[in-house]
């Protein structure tokens, strides 16, 4: 959790500074961070605002950038339903980093996992929002050079990957991800590879279901 809060504060902050440099106020940063709540899309959004991108093009870009979220919900329906009235909030507040935390959580037995899920989601959202607002309001006052701190997000994914590697007997899903990710990256380039890579690995995993399950249950 802690690494995410820091990296969210900082990446949110970077987004706020971008908004400020583009000539927009903390209010815009606030609305974007509250309602979009997606790092990659918000960072891509700023130059698109400056370039006066048409709304439809924006909608299509938003879809392409964030289409990976479609895959995150699979497997979380039952868990999020336990939130009752806050079920819709859990569905909404579900960016990469929160997905990672939820994939990796093993809560101690003396805490309520439903409450933990909710507070993790709320804390991440709040740190993201604060980062954005502070960046847009005071970004020009802070002289610290924090470039590179967003690498914490990469490290988080690496840690969850290692946890999964140790937890699962079958490492086939990781190889499937590696193969489809690299293949799509080299064929389609860095801007368009995510959705095809995710789709390809989903199809491959379905095809390989029998082999993966045999290994898991052996």
């Amino acid at each position: 959790m802690l690494p995410i809060i820091f990296s969210y504060l900082v990446v949110g902050f970077a987004f706020g500074i971008m908004m400020q440099e583009a000539g927009y106020t903390w209010l815009h940063a606030l609305f974007a961070s509250v309602f979009i709540y997606s790092g990659s899309l918000q960072i891509a959004l700023v130059p698109m605002i400056v370039a006066h991108t048409p709304l439809l093009v924006m909608a299509a870009s938003a879809f392409l950038i964030n289409s990976r979220y479609m895959f995150y919900g699979i497997g979380f329906t039952e868990r999020f339903k336990k939130q009752g009235l806050l079920y819709p909030y859990m569905i909404f507040a579900f960016p990469d980093e929160v997905y990672c935390v939820f994939c990796g959580t093993n809560y101690p037995s003396d805490v309520d996992p439903v409450k933990c899920d909710l507070w993790s989601a709320v804390l991440c959202h709040l740190s993201w929002i604060s980062g954005g607002v502070i960046g847009a309001a005071f970004g020009d006052l802070i002289p610290l050079d924090l470039s590179g701190i967003d690498f914490a997000a990469t490290c988080l994914f690496v840690c969850i990957f290692v946890n999964q590697w140790m937890e699962f007997k079958s490492h086939l899903p990781m190889y499937v991800g590696l193969a489809s990710g690299l293949l799509c990256l080299f064929v389609l380039g860095p801007d368009n590879f995510m959705l095809p890579a995710l789709s390809l690995s989903l199809v491959l995993l379905v095809i390989l279901k029998k082999r993966v399950m045999e290994k898991e249950e052996s």
Partner: protein, 109 residues
Amino acid sequence: MQPDYLYAALLIAVSAIVTILIRALPFAVFGQRKLPDTVEYLGRVLPGSIMVILIIYCLRSVSLTAWPFGIPEFLCVLICGLLQFKLKNSIPSIAIATALYMVLIRTVF
């Protein structure tokens, strides 16, 4: 160019709506009924694949053909992975690898 506040608000709204719809999709499709066997299986194994793809996503803009050839990135990813393997505690793994990365890109590379 003069900032256009209303237009910016519209773009933010469009982005937000699209993002919310994408996030709601799997819950709308699989949320109502008993999960089919294959979906349950995917829920278990998909994170393993997605994590690798997310790591690739984070490193997608690293240039392999120009100095420093992604050395700081790959080195720190490797160190982070090894630390996590040994320590099984993500906070020191992430903190050490990120700090090292920030030092490396300022000094050596």
